[in-house]
Amino acid sequence: MNSNLRDIISDALSSNQAQYVEIRFDQFEATHIRYRDRDLEEVNRTTSGGGCVRALDGGGWGFVSFNRLDDLGNKVKAAIRNARLVGGDPIELAPVEPVVDCVKSNAKKDPSKISLNDKKRLLDEYAGEIWSVPGITTSTVGYGDSHLNRVFASSEGTYIEQEKLDISMRLSAVARDGGDVQQSGVSLGSAGDFSEIENLHSQASFVARRALELLKAGPAKSGEYTVVLDPVLAGVFIHEAFGHLSEADHVYQDDRIKEIMLLGKRFADNQLNVVDGAAVPNLRGSYAYDDEGVPSTRSYLLKEGVLVGRLHSRETAAKMGEQLTGNARSIGPQFPPIVRMTNTFIENGNSSPEELIADVKDGIYVCNWYGGMTSMEQFTFSAGEAWVIKNGQIKELLRPVLLSGNLFTTLQSLDGIGNDLDMNQGGGCGKGGQIPLAVSNGSPHIRIQRCLISGN
């Protein structure tokens, strides 16, 4: 524990008269390497530091962020002054036991201990694998690792130091035929264990072959289909389709949405179980304490198809009279914490992936992902590849498709869940201008009836 920093922060917090004050301070180091084709296009070493004060007083929140730690006492005063400018009905926070703790990363192979030379050698190999496939137009290999030390202290006596390591990796290839350009890619990540990205050689040559195959693939026709989703895309689906509306800040101030999202309400048939939790260990969304100093949990959102929980900050939990879940997160000192997902997944069902496909007469098998977005009720998520299913058999490859759904109908159309749960760690979630936040998503294969597909 850094006793000097702790003294500075304690001093700054000691004399304030506000309802609640918290201070965060980050020290951050990162390395980014990007290859375009076989050549290294960018390599960067970044160091940064910065902090923020958030104060609650007189019914409002005040927030101040900065680079330099000096004069912290006045920054506390400024945050309180900002809070008092707001005014209004009192805001309560759900109580949390004060804690003093220091949490170190337990990553097996810390990337900051690996030389730039060794990282480059590995990425050279991946670029080489992609280019071993003849006919590729261009490719990228992107790698990033980061090491974060985050200090959190509150006027209630909590003082926590947490270390967090993160690795992200993307391999992609582009193939062109005249005006037709197709691409294929794969994104992965790890909670700081470099060994998890060391054996991607076959995935590198796979994206190259897939980009070329997509040039020959035909487009899907827009319309409604029975779709089977692979675990990667199904993870994105549950994140977008359901995860975001489980975030209590979308619910707690809106009486009509509260009615729709009433605990005990059925959203799907009883084989669907959905979990979110930073207490699920060793994933990119894992941590011991959130950015309000609340211990992480593992929480059911849907149990046997019924809404049983949602994700909270201290403010939303108090307002709704529900249990704290430890989901208040911030991507950095420039931002206050907001309610976010962590590791979100659908639990295993009973069917094998083959059984889910065997029943489909006319449908589409969708894999991998480009991205996903939600407006709460409606959501989209896009597949990196799509395949025709005909009479229970996977047939020809199609161009990538966009899937679009509706919270209130699509979950009810989910009629099959596989038994092959797999977590994907390649995603970064965006909300309220805070992007990308490290999360993981997962699912077994799932099947959805009458899903709206937009072809290309």
């Binding site: 980014h32 070493r45 409604e224 949405i257 679009s404």
Partner: protein, 440 residues
């Protein structure tokens, strides 16, 4: 300027150990006031400064960045550590030159009081809720001041200040399980004092979107409003102009300079010298002077976008289009896109369509293969057109198409050009034969 001393210190040290060195610095101050669920919730004050160092040593580019300005030796050491691995430099940092002045700073942005900003946000919410008390509004009013400086070992030292001010609102109207999202925003280098246009635009959405339309399916006529042009067409169109994609051959426009791309009524320029527009700047993020540059001139491809490194690779000159943040190397991009207006009014376009849709905003755009010019998304806010009239809000509807095909199939371009988000000026565009599907 507080950071000038640090820039000079880093440049001196880096210059002595490399062939060329460049320091880019960015400092900002940002003060937003945020409203949630119709009430003021948070007042924030954010400050940050940082610098990035690029060196060329033994012909290769080394790069590092930091915002810890009292430990500057590390930034030089880190750049030195990365340079043996870095890309081969194909650039020369520019020497000192004269820039065309473009005004992007209004000091009154800094003298606005928080009370005035709060009042503006509250009156926006109150105006909207007078028309529909059930609206639940989140709103934000904010101001930023950004200062960018560039110095290099070839003698350039240049900086400019930019102010911006924005007002935005997102409102929800929930009816049963139907969620209707409305909203809009406005930004300028000057303080925004008048919100009438913003209110009128949200009220238009409210009046035309209250009822849900019949499903729309098949290939049909689509009117993209100025916001719809921004949401659906701009990024797939611009992706092909990026010099990086041109030199790597991944742009479908490779080798097409001077060829006809889209309908001759369509022109698009980069206009970074437009005064008091937040996207404007007198020089780019490498210190190359900004210039007005046609990209599509009456349907024909006129220029691609280059920064110094990509221009060097392509054997071209930089077009002054380098964009960067503190933590990344420059990359080419458009600064202020201006699309030429036509002569048809929005309502004349609608009146001309028997069976079609209007697109205002999309969900999931940009998650398809934009390199090919494709767009594919859910229509977050759009309306059905039946027999020349707006006939309700679309729901559970997707559109997809290709921007080059769509812009080759234009029926009319609107006379209703407006600024969207501080870096795009666009009119409505009426295209034919775009694929639409609704879940029945």
């Amino acid at each position: 300027m507080a950071i000038k001393r640090e820039i000079e210190k880093v440049l001196d040290k880096a210059g002595s150990i490399s062939e060329q060195a460049e320091v880019f610095s960015l400092s900002y101050w940002n003060e937003p006031v945020d409203f949630e669920a119709n009430r003021l919730k948070t007042v924030e004050d954010r400050e940050s400064e940082g610098l990035a160092l690029r060196i060329i040593k033994d012909g290769r580019i080394g790069f590092s960045s930091t915002n810890i300005l009292d430990q500057l030796d590390g930034v030089v050491d880190n750049a030195l550590e990365t340079s043996p691995f870095g890309p081969v430099a194909t650039l020369q940092f520019p020497s000192a030159t004269r820039f065309n002045n473009v005004d992007t700073y209004d000091p009154t942005v800094e003298t606005q009081t928080v009370d005035e900003m709060v009042h503006l946000g509250q009156s926006l919410i109150d105006d909207l809720r007078r028309h529909e008390p059930e609206l639940l509004c989140d709103a934000g009013v904010g101001r930023n001041v950004v200062e960018i400086s560039i110095a290099n070992s070839n003698g350039l030292y240049a900086s400019y200040k930019q102010s911006s001010f924005y007002v935005s609102v997102g409102a929800t109207l929930v009816n049963g399980t139907d969620m209707f999202f409305l909203g809009g925003s406005k930004s300028s280098c000057n303080p925004i004092l008048n919100i009438d246009e913003l209110v009128a635009s949200v009220l238009f959405q409210l009046e035309n979107g209250r009822n849900i339309s019949k499903p729309a399916s098949g290939n049909m006529s689509v009117v993209f409003t100025p916001r719809g042009v921004a949401a659906a067409l701009l990024s797939p169109l611009m992706a092909g102009f990026n010099g990086k994609s041109i030199i790597k051959g991944s742009s479908p426009l490779v080798g097409m300079l001077g060829e006809k791309l889209v309908d001759a009524r369509f022109s698009l320029w980069d206009e970074p010298l437009t005064p008091m527009i937040p996207g404007s700047r007198m020089f780019d993020d490498e210190g190359v002077p900004s210039r007005r540059m046609p990209l599509i001139d009456q349907g024909t491809i006129s220029n691609f976008l280059y920064d110094l490194q990509t221009a060097g690779q392509a054997g071209e000159e930089s077009t002054g289009n380098a964009h960067r943040g503190i933590n990344s190397l420059p990359s080419p991009g458009v600064s202020v896109s201006v699309i030429s207006s036509g002569d048809t009014s929005f309502y004349d376009m609608v009146a001309d369509i028997e069976d079609g849709i209007i697109v205002e905003s999309l969900l999931g755009a940009g998650q398809s293969n934009i390199l090919s010019g494709d767009f594919s998304a859910n229509v977050l806010l759009g309306y059905r057109i039946e027999n020349g009239k707006i006939a309700g809000r679309l729901k559970n509807t997707v559109i997809n198409g290709n921007v080059y095909s769509a812009l080759n199939n234009i029926s009319a371009i609107g006379n209703d050009g407006e600024w969207i988000g501080g870096s795009l000026y666009a009119p409505s565009i009426y295209c034919n034969d775009v694929s639409v599907a609704t879940r029945g």
